[in-house]
Amino acid sequence: MNHWIIAPILLPPLVGAVIIIAARYQVALQRIFSVASTVALAAIAIGLLVQSMSGQIGVYELGNWPAPFGIVLVLDRLSATMVTLTALLGVAVVLYAIGSGWDRRGNHFHALFQFQLMGIFGAFLTGDVFNLFVFFEVLLIASYGLMIHGGGATRLRAGVQYVVYNLLGSTLFLFALGTIYAATGTLNMADLALRVAELPAADTAMIRVAAILLLMVFAVKAALIPLHVWLPATYAEAPAPVAALFAVMTKIGAYAIIRVYTLVFGPDVAATADIIGPWLMPAAMITLAIGMLGVLGATHLGRLAAFAAIGSMGTLLIAIAPFTPQATTAALYYMLHSTLAGAALFLVVDMVRARRQAEDDSIAPRPVIAQNGLIAAFFFACGIAMAGMPPLSGFLGKLLVLDAVRDHAQVWLIWAVILLTSLVAVVGFARAGSMVFWKVDPAPDAAAAAPPPAALPFVATGGLVAGIVALTVFAGPVTGFLSATSAQVFDKQSYIDAVMNTPRAQEAEAANAAGKPLAYYGKDAGKAETGSTDTGTDTPQQEKTE
């Protein structure tokens, strides 16, 4: 077993605990630990990504329990890509938080940040739906703390909305899981895929309900219409580094939709094939339209960035909804792009806020801010990327999406929605940008807001923009890797084989056939009693094979 797979889940909580216990009052130490941990996580994530490129699906059995009985972590190309994306975003966000002083405005920013990373990595790596729920809760409870970091009445009240909405989502998740367990008797994704495919046609009512319930849960996370209402206030009011990290949180919903609705309720499963895609597509188109209209109508930069995030989720879900390998490739490319662009946009908005009086981010003429030109250039780049204009990766992403839905029945409608909303977004960003950066209010007290010219925020934001540029320049190799990823996602048999037929599972099978208890360690199979490693006679788990 490759123990590196669990490292992204183990490292952040350990560092987080050290930060809370040992470095509670020393911000400098907290920063050192936090940066070291995120950089190490990025290195580990890239290592895992390189490993996954071979096409081998890595399986980590927690506690050495084979698949349907124990919880497994699964590292395939998709999860490795998402883990790497999160880790790299984490580095940029933590640098920005330090550079802008956001981490000093309240307690425990870095500890909460580490726990948040743990939850996100866990959600991407787990191969068990109930474990997915648990990691959702881990990342949510950390995000509640981060969301209200720095305090303030409006932020707290937006935080309450956010918490209530997500608690509702969690309850719905539990209802869905209960229904799935009642219908199939398992919660392991690979095992579920086997059992759902075997269900007799007359007996699928429950699993169809569960599939729709689960889609609603992921739609809450992915901010799909009409379950998006929590997002604008949350993202606009959250501290900027947190909002930037949240850019990857909506993608968790998208990831979960890709994972569950290709593996468990895939397009080849007769029971659910006709309910997921046809519902997802129109909802995604409306999400895109609402998001981009919100960009046009926003009166504050924070809201503008939040609605741009909703719009990008709409485009992303349009690409997911057909559930074909080509469309999924486009979706994955757009997912990488929109995470970086969305995060960068939140950071740019915060740079404007920090340089104005009273953190005012309204889209209206104000005294000229410090470093106006550089920040305007960043905003321009983010606007181009989010709206999908050439030459940045947003354009390529949208082109891939347009190309991928070519064979869809509603192709003209989809094209019209994507192209028109792009125009709306261009107008919205142009209006906001020219109003904020060019129309200067010649107030006498222009010199009042002069923040320290810290370089780190520019490094962090510039890093994200550089990521977008790199995604554009290396679009060929990236899409090549992503099409291999989506091919692997749709090859569900290899996933099931990898999870269900590990060496340990075969050992358990052999021990069961021989009527012997399963030895604790693989090497000591058959001589468990004499083994000096442990109490030896660990209870056999084959009894439940039913």
Partner: protein, 121 residues
């Protein structure tokens, strides 16, 4: 027994959703608690309702009740307990600093964004 359990889950869910749609934080939190009770019972029922059976396979009894949903319920209870505590504290903080317990952000004049400004009042 099935009827009792099913109607209990249904009534709790209905009451929870009704309370959740209220405007103020306190009924909303009560509604969330109701919903978590409902979902805990529902998870129990997902392993089939069995009476007077051990949750473990023994030699003397031929059948057993499924232990896994009980483990799931335990996890769900712990998580929902923690989450409820968090939301109560956050709602209290929001009420104390915002002087209103309306869920809706537009229901009260937008207070200051800064943390420090509220302290002196």
């Amino acid at each position: 027994m099935e009827y009792l359990l099913a109607s209990a889950i249904g009534v709790l869910t209905a009451a929870g959703i009704y309370l959740l749609l209220r405007q103020r934080t306190f009924p909303v939190i009560l509604g969330i608690s109701m919903l978590t009770y409902a979902v805990n019972l529902f998870l129990f029922a997902s392993g089939r309702v069995a009476i007077n059976l051990p949750p473990i396979l023994l030699n003397e009894t031929p059948t057993y009740t499924d232990p896994l949903p009980q483990a799931l319920v335990l996890t769900a209870i712990v998580i929902s307990f923690g989450m409820t505590a968090v939301v109560v504290l956050m709602a209290l903080g929001a009420y104390l600093s915002g002087r209103t317990d309306h869920i809706n952000l537009g229901a009260a004049p937008d207070a200051d964004r800064d943390a420090g400004t509220e302290v002196g009042k």
